[in-house]
Symmetry: C2
């Protein structure tokens, strides 16, 4: 019979974590990139996303000062760039140049989008809370940019073409086949782009 | 050349979302289960997790009143139960009974663990913020319970045995092969259970 055991040290045991590349800018307009696993959607309307960032990270004060950032969502083909971006600092490295990533202008914020990421969420900082080892940044998503070829005729994103990258704790995992869709046990037809 | 297009309506475009089953209890000790995709780790120390829940959901006030909850992390074998739990209400349904899930006592909170979930995070509510369509609940993880067979000799979880379930937007996706580990572009050896 299955039994549970208590783990010595409480920690965030999520083993299906998203991984994203967040861009932000300093007061001279120079952009930085920080890969984050402490990220999650938290509100549908107005759409808001939560980030956890350590105060020692270069991006922490950039976002606090500028009040904006972009959440760029990489697919599996960018796994090396995602990993590499976490092991150097924007204080002395231009990560766009070093890792051959392409900045594109955003529509509503001054931080750049990463062209190599198929979906990019432009955010304005709405709330900040100091939590301990990390600061909590809640951003409102004010615009979304996606690869033109991913956008359907109705103007929505066709997510089914995407090959997501996620973390099984500390392992990067690539895409897999769907095993159902939201509502598949209840409805015969899929409710596309259902808002949770 | 790849170009980006703006999406009509800003929304949370994350397509590598975790999915979890959150348990909570009413003042008589009856437990409920709510599946959530608006969830993310936000702080390593003390470990904290963020949930976004609509005020209309039965669990919203249960958690506000009790000040605690458990984040139970399902694997792919529970995809049907996860989906079904979202399409009925704890106001008139005992979801444990209806979906044949087994409550187990937690160690530090009164909400039960779900035995069928391999990792369970016991949380105490630390912060609450009303964001709009959803309330933000920040819980501190005060204890972690995992399947005994997943726990290594050093007392840590062996995540590599787990078959995660995540959402590609509105599609449930099952496990896939790892394509790297945190630090794989930098180190020769894997840093197991690296804290971000």
């Amino acid at each position: 019979m299955k039994t549970l055991a208590q783990i010595k040290q409480p920690m965030i045991g999520l083993f299906n974590l998203p991984v994203v590349l967040v861009t932000c800018t300093d007061d001279k307009g120079s952009a930085n990139i920080i890969p984050l696993g402490w990220v999650g959607g938290v509100c549908s309307s107005p759409p808001q996303i939560a980030l956890g960032i350590r105060p020692s990270r270069y991006s922490y004060n950039l976002i606090k000062k500028s009040g904006e950032f972009v959440v760029n969502i990489p697919c599996v083909d960018l796994v090396k760039e995602v990993d590499k971006c976490g092991f150097c600092s924007g204080r002395n490295t231009d990560k766009f140049e070093r890792f051959h990533l392409t900045p594109l202008p955003a529509s509503k914020v001054s931080s750049p989008l990463i062209k190599e990421c198929p979906v990019n969420l432009e955010c304005r900082l709405r709330h900040f809370l100091s939590l301990g080892s990390h600061g909590l940044f809640i951003g409102e998503i004010v615009a979304v940019q996606a690869d033109k070829e991913l956008v359907r005729e109705d103007g929505e994103i066709n997510y089914s073409c995407l090959k997501p990258l996620y973390l099984r704790h500390d392992e990067y995992c690539g895409p897999s086949e769907p095993v159902g869709y939201y509502g598949f046990t209840k409805f015969r037809e899929r409710v596309v782009n259902k808002v949770f």
